[in-house]
């Protein structure tokens, strides 16, 4: 079969060449063009998803449709194909493939194996190797008939292909899967789209960007640089930027890896004024509102997660509810997207093997067939501006269509032929005679009963003599039936071989029989019944497993509906105001509209829910000045300054750390960049709004912050690397001086009105110089702290906060003098050389010297009991309890310049409150309720209920998974749900 197909290609390939009218021809006569029409008749023609001609005709010539309708004129020179009972659909279009293009081999390896490469490898191109807009799909393309056949078997006729390499990947091209034509026929558009992603090129080891946020910043800068270049301001030639500018008018297709990246890609697009078409993850249902708000069209792969293999209960215990739910819910994603009105198209990318199966599954889960068809035909055609030539069966369009035995979206339907540009590929022979039935077969005087069932082209046979079943093997090709029968006497190894050409009506047929003895005779078969009583044909009307509700976030401890603001009156609590009133006994606090409405005694509820807080302590929520939870990455380590990157870009609102922090009374945190480089990235200030989107978590009108870092990490003392400046504390100073000096000059040029290259890194540092952006500086030993204080003074700004600041006690006077705060660990030390003089009295000594002091976590574990860490200053430093409590509430709020909103219990401030079971500085205290802006995000009773719910839901899903495995579905190993906890020095090279 395969062999024949190849011959067919070779033969028709020579025919194809004739099509090029102005090409000379030397291997035959030239005048042999085929100008006949091909006409399909009696077919159910799906012109487009909403137009069906039940008994229609379609004419084509030279690869294009010339007419379509109920009754069209059949030109005399037509070959007519009768498609009675069959359906014709436009062939599908796949916008995301790398068909015919080899994925570039990585020589990059880990950027940190050996000495990292910081500069670009190319000359004449952009400064970053991962920006490759000049890459052209045409240049790397080699048509592959075998790949084309695989795609055509699924129903595809046209694909967009591109080189899957780099952040900007250059142009893709549109190719018809016409294996009989030449590139001249097939290439429909050599620049059909530009492709982008957050993934680095495999061809370069250049370290930058080493994070998602770096990739986002790099993209923003590339757009700026391209504009600047387009205006003719560059002194040099940049082939990459030239290509980038040329590609700007194309459709921009952005490949992403996960749901958060989809939102991130769109965010960058919004900022640079580009609406990307986004290759999605299939998890869009987890955040439909945010996805809808992107206004993007999505390309969705049909690769649903496989069930976990959980037969081993010990192994099963590692599975998380979130992952199990995703398996259960993912097949309903397309339905949910459609219901939400989110436009999408489908791709076979990463899902070729399970494409049809999963497509049918999506329909079983509620996706409308018309929507599915549109997502494979008209919608993708429209995205690439080919709506008149592709994805439709109207006059003038390419003759790209599939012929099926019936409704394409029915499980039993056979895809017979896939025509592309008028050239057919036979997938299953549609003219094969259906043999199904029961026959009496006479061979050499014996009568056998033969039952034939199954698909016409792949019949199954069951043969009996009397009541004895006989082993049989049937092959059926091109209407030739071959049947091998074993001897009725099973002790003998003898076979009878039958062979017959089947007539159009197989009610009786005859052929040759070769008996076990080797003698040749003939046999006859007479059909006695047209049914074969095939039990297998019983419809398995299987219902899909019940889809469990999506929660926010869609994992353990998520909310089924997002919690609402409540008016609450806390009665009779010990209230830690952090204000002049101090600690009030038996006091009431009224919460209204998310704010603290009143503090006092005997307050009236005025319709608020009353909570009896007798014997309990009510405080403001904990503010963690230094945290790395809720982040998809922490460090952009590719440059010694990464002022251009933003932690706001990489907020991960689904981190279980958020819930655990709420259970520890934390309501606000600063998500800081790490300490891999002297000038780090811009901070995000978050409220722990569990269940929200990244934007929900980010504090409105956040004050601007940036991370600086000093010491061992920035000089790369603790890992093998010595190619990046600085390698000493001496060099660290020079990095700051260099950047600050250049930023000054940059601002001067910018203010002069002369053309300047907008540089987001410099823009950020200018904000520092102007006091508009505050610095949180990671620091340990006094020499470097002294240095940075002095450098800041030299450049006319002040350091807002030193974080860690473990030797702050040695120069607390200098910090106090300059109004610089300190945010420190309570008692960490001895984990590296630069903290050998760290002492637990640090916070107290700094406080006594007049420094605004906070105690922070930098750690997902410690952050959930920062109240205990504050208490250690009472123990080690003799600080009063009231002051110590401020170390984790009011003082960090002050350091973050948000103390007008949070940090104390005061009328008008945000109702970020924690109700404690005990004295909040005591090891015995735990939060009973944690509120943010009047919304209860953590509640001890709800937590208890959820624990049971998680268990029962996991059990329900485990049962479904076990059933799926028993039903023969492929499984995957259980995913480990332990998340790596991030710290300052987490590099995350594989972001």
């Amino acid at each position: 079969m395969r062999f024949k197909f190849l011959i067919c290609i070779l033969f028709s390939a020579s025919l194809g060449l004739q099509a090029q009218e102005y090409f000379p021809k030397n291997d035959a006569v030239k005048a042999q063009d085929n100008t006949n029409y091909t006409v399909l008749k009696n077919a159910k023609i799906h012109v487009d998803p909403s137009t069906v001609i039940p008994n229609g005709m379609l004419a084509m010539k030279d690869g294009k449709i010339t007419a379509v309708g109920k009754n069209i004129q059949i030109p005399a020179n037509s070959v007519v194909v009768d498609l009675k009972g069959k359906d014709v659909y436009p062939s599908f279009i796949d916008l995301f493939t790398h068909f015919g293009i080899e994925k570039p081999e990585g020589n990059a390896g880990s950027p940190y194996s050996g000495n990292p490469q910081y500069d670009a490898s190319r000359e004449g191109y952009y400064w970053n190797d991962h920006i490759r807009p000049e890459t052209s799909a045409v240049g790397n393309f080699k048509y592959s008939s075998s790949e084309a056949e695989e795609l055509r078997k699924l129903g595809f006729g046209t694909v967009n292909t591109h080189t899957p390499d780099g952040i900007v990947r250059g142009t893709g091209m549109l190719v018809a899967l016409n294996s009989e034509g030449t590139e001249g026929d097939r290439i429909l558009d050599k620049e059909s789209a530009q492709y982008l992603s957050f993934e680095k090129s495999a061809k370069s080891r250049q370290v930058y960007p080493s994070s998602i946020m770096g990739a986002m910043a790099l993209l923003r800068q590339t757009y700026l640089d391209a504009d600047w270049y387009a205006r003719g301001n560059a002194k040099n030639k940049d082939l990459a930027l030239e290509a980038f500018n040329e590609n700007r008018d194309l459709v921009q297709i952005f490949k992403t890896e996960n749901l958060l990246d989809e939102l991130r890609a769109d965010k960058v697009g919004d900022e640079v004024g580009v609406q990307y078409v986004i290759l999605g993850s299939g998890k869009e249902f987890e955040s439909l509102d945010a996805i809808k708000a992107t206004n993007a069209t999505y390309i969705i792969p049909l690769n649903f997660p496989k069930p976990f293999d959980i037969e081993d209960p010990y192994m099963a215990s590692y599975a998380s509810l979130g992952d199990m739910k995703e398996w259960n819910q993912a097949p309903a994603n397309l339905k949910m997207m459609a219901e939400k009105g989110i436009p999408f198209v489908l791709t076979s990318w990463n899902s070729e093997k399970e494409f049809k199966e999963n497509l049918l599954k999506a329909i079983e889960y509620g996706l409308a067939k018309e929507t599915a068809l549109a997502a494979l035909t008209t919608r993708p055609a429209k995205i690439i501006g080919q709506e008149n030539t592709l994805g439709t069966l109207k006059e003038g369009a390419w003759a790209n269509f599939i012929i099926t035995s019936g409704d394409y979206f029915d499980k039993e339907t056979t895809l017979y032929e896939n025509w592309v540009q008028g050239k057919k590929l036979v997938i299953e022979d549609m003219n094969v005679v259906n043999l199904a039935g029961t026959y009496d077969v006479q061979i050499d005087g014996d009568t056998y009963e033969m039952k034939i069932s199954g698909e016409a082209a792949k019949p199954k046979a069951e043969v009996k003599i009397g009541n004895n079943k006989i082993g049989s093997k049937v092959t059926y090709n091109d209407n030739w039936l071959n049947l091998i029968l074993s001897a009725p006497d099973t002790t003998k190894t003898e076979y009878t071989r039958l062979s017959a050409r089947i007539p159009e009506d197989p009610k009786n047929f005859s052929g040759k029989a070769i008996l076990g003895t080797g003698s040749e005779t003939s046999f006859t078969a007479v059909r006695t019944s047209e049914t074969s009583e095939d039990k297998d044909k019983e419809e398995k009307n299987e219902e899909h497993p019940e889809v469990v509700p999506v929660t926010f976030p869609n994992k353990a401890y998520g909310f089924e509906t997002l919690p609402k603001q409540q008016d609450i009156l806390f009665r009779n609590a010990t209230v830690w105001t952090n204000e002049a009133e101090g600690i009030l006994e038996n006091a009431d606090v009224l919460v209204k509209n998310g704010k603290i409405a009143a503090v006092g005694s005997n307050l009236r509820a005025r319709g608020a829910t009353v909570i009896d807080a007798t014997g309990k302590h009510l405080t403001t929520g904990i503010v963690d000045e230094h945290s790395h939870i809720a982040a998809s990455g922490v460090n952009e380590a590719g440059h010694n300054s990464s002022a251009e990157v933003k932690m706001e870009d990489v907020v991960d609102p689904d981190d279980i750390g958020i819930y655990r922090n709420l259970a520890g009374g934390v309501t606000t945190m600063q998500l800081l960049h790490g300490s891999a480089n002297p000038i780090g990235g811009q901070s995000a200030i978050l409220k722990m709004k569990w269940g929200g989107t990244p934007e929900d978590l980010i504090l409105d009108n956040s004050p601007k912050f940036i991370k600086f870092a000093l010491g061992e990490n920035v000089k790369q003392a603790n890992w093998d690397s010595n190619s990046r400046f600085p390698q000493t504390r001496m060099g660290v100073e020079q990095v700051f001086v260099d950047y600050l000096t250049r930023a000054k000059e940059y601002e001067k040029l910018k203010n002069s009105g002369q053309p300047y290259r907008k540089d987001i890194e410099m823009e950020t540092i200018v904000e520092i110089l102007n006091g508009e952006r505050h610095i949180t500086a990671h620091s340990y030993v006094q020499s470097e702290i002294n240095m940075l204080l002095e450098v800041a003074e030299r450049f006319g700004f002040k350091i807002n906060t030193f974080t860690h600041i473990l030797e702050g006690y040695k120069l607390a006077d200098k910090m106090a003098e300059r109004g610089t705060g300190g945010s420190t660990f309570s008692d960490w030390w001895a984990y590296k050389y630069e903290v050998k003089d760290a002492i637990p009295q640090n916070a107290a000594i700094m406080h006594n010297a007049g420094v605004t002091v906070a105690i922070n976590s930098d750690d997902a574990e410690m952050s959930r009991r920062l109240n205990q860490e504050a208490a250690k200053s009472v123990k080690y430093g003799g600080i009063s309890e009231e002051e110590a409590w401020k170390f984790v509430t009011l003082n960090p709020a002050k350091l973050l310049h948000i103390d007008d909103r949070v940090g104390s219990i005061k009328e008008g401030k945000d109702a970020d409150l924690v109700l404690w079971t005990d004295h909040p500085l005591s090891v015995y205290a735990k939060p009973e309720k944690t509120l943010i802006e009047g919304i209860v995000y953590f509640d001890l009773d709800r937590d208890k209920e959820l624990r049971q719910k998680i268990e029962s839901q996991k059990n329900q899903l485990a049962t479904q998974m076990l059933k799926a495995k028993n039903d023969g579905l492929k499984t995957q190993p259980v995913k480990d749900s332990k998340k790596e906890e991030l710290h300052c020095d987490s590099l995350h090279l594989n972001y």
């Binding site: 010990y314 998380s320 010595n722 040695k810 006077d813 009295q841 123990k875 080690y876 500085l921």
Partner: protein, 437 residues
């Protein structure tokens, strides 16, 4: 040259920085001490509200109700009214004194090369003058089991007290047991080898388990023979089989723990202690039946898995204790040495999440002493035992009130100062000077 400089620099700095020695160890107790009026937390679950505690020559002689004895108290009399007295806290499975600064490899002596190293002894590397060790004392942590790390059998641990000139002086119990790192039955896919990163069966598990049991069998056979051709690892097992030393098996998984119970039976081992035991609460009844004590892994941790109760590590010790298992708390993990001074607060957290205070106290005193086999002299305030104890102004399990005024090791009045308090004093004074200027 540059490289060399980088490698040498920390060493040089380290040597220079380490020029402060530990606080001078206290001299022997010469006269009796009587502590009157304190709430005595005996360490066995009992409390004496208004107590009198007398010790002489390093040993407790009286622990009683204050009004039950005569008023003629001997020696130095300390009025501790309103204060609390506890037996010295014990940090088992600790690497204190084996590493000074985590990131300085030159200061790291915790992990020897090789897999089966029962003959490797932690005690000789224990640095009695470690600045980290001295920082334990001000929080009441006065005793530690110094334990090697790494390999399948890491080596042999010893128990020390934290106020000594050198390791020989520090020893309370030399070579108390060997430490076995039980293999994991599951492993994560090696993504760098293009494997799915999901959980997989560890194909080497049975082989690794066999390695342990084969070694035990071989050692036993060897010890029964003439032993004329010495085998050091086998020799090191002698006290294991005689029952004088414990076998500490470090493991977390449920399946592994069940296998350990089978191993204990098969090898006829009496004194097996489970260390870590993250999943132990799931099979507490079996552990109880198998008479296996548990040194529960660090309380101040995040749960291992996303779905687990946020307070699972907080309440785990309590769950086991409720089932009648002998439970101690241990401190190993990231930055474990300096963090060991928080041991009392681990016990405090166990209280916050469901355990009675005096029960939780046992987990860092008498239970641990029993597990380590030093309960004849340590772990409770009882007459006849070592006077290793301290006075705190308040509840020592709560950081809010854990403030030591006195601590004694075997009756010696030890210093509560440290490198850290010296620095605090020096720079605290600087702040005061600046203020008065």
């Amino acid at each position: 040259m540059k490289n060399l400089k980088i490698k040498l620099l920390p060493l040089l700095l380290f040597i220079a920085g380490n020029s402060f020695a530990q606080q001078t160890p206290a001299p022997e107790q010469t006269r009796p001490v009587t502590i009157v009026g304190a709430t005595a937390h005996i360490g066995n679950g009992e409390i004496i509200e208004n107590s009198v505690i007398i010790f002489e020559n390093g040993k407790l002689t009286t622990v009683a109700e204050a009004n039950s004895t005569s008023r003629n108290y001997p020696g130095t009399i300390i009025d501790a009214g309103g204060k609390h007295v506890y037996p010295g806290f014990i940090a088992p499975n600790s690497t204190l004194g084996l590493v000074e600064i985590d990131a300085v490899p030159q200061s790291d002596d915790e992990d020897e090369l090789g897999e089966i190293l029962p003959h490797v002894r932690s005690i000789i590397a224990y640095n009695a003058e470690s600045q980290v060790v001295e920082s334990m004392r001000a929080n009441g942590v006065l005793i530690g089991q110094i334990t090697p790390r790494g390999g399948r059998i890491s080596g042999t641990s010893s128990i020390v007290q934290f106020d000594a000139w050198n390791w020989e002086d520090a020893v309370l119990k030399e070579d108390d047991g060997i430490h076995v790192n039980w293999p994991n039955s599951f492993r994560r896919g090696r993504w760098w080898r293009d494997e799915d990163p999901g959980i997989k069966i560890n194909e080497d598990y049975q082989e690794n388990v066999m390695q342990i049991s084969d070694f035990f069998k071989d050692a036993k056979a060897y010890l029964a023979g003439p032993r004329d051709h010495k085998n050091l690892p086998f020799e090191a097992m002698e006290n294991i089989f005689s029952g004088d030393q414990n076998v500490y098996i470090h493991a977390d998984g449920e399946k592994e723990i069940i296998d350990i119970l089978a191993f204990k039976k098969e090898q006829k081992l009496d004194d097996v202690v489970l260390v870590g035991g993250y999943d132990a609460y799931k099979i507490a009844d079996q552990l109880k039946a198998g008479n296996v004590a548990v040194l529960v892994g660090r309380v101040h941790e995040t749960p291992n898995l996303e779905d687990q109760d946020y307070d699972l590590p907080y309440k785990m010790a309590g769950l086991l204790n409720d089932k009648g298992i002998l439970v101690g708390l241990e401190t190993s993990g990231d930055m474990e040495r300096m963090n060991s001074r928080n041991l009392p607060f681990y016990a405090g957290t166990v209280v916050a999440f469901g355990t009675d205070k005096e029960e939780a106290l046992k987990m860092i005193t008498s239970n641990t002493a029993k597990i380590l086999g030093i309960d004849s002299t340590m772990g409770t305030l009882e007459a006849g035992k070592d006077a290793t104890l301290f006075i705190s102004e308040g509840d020592a399990l709560d950081m809010r009130t854990n403030k030591l005024t006195k601590a004694y090791v075997q009756g010696r009045d030890i210093s509560l100062e440290s490198h850290q308090t010296e620095l605090a004093k020096r720079y605290g004074d600087k702040v005061e000077q600046n203020k008065s200027n």
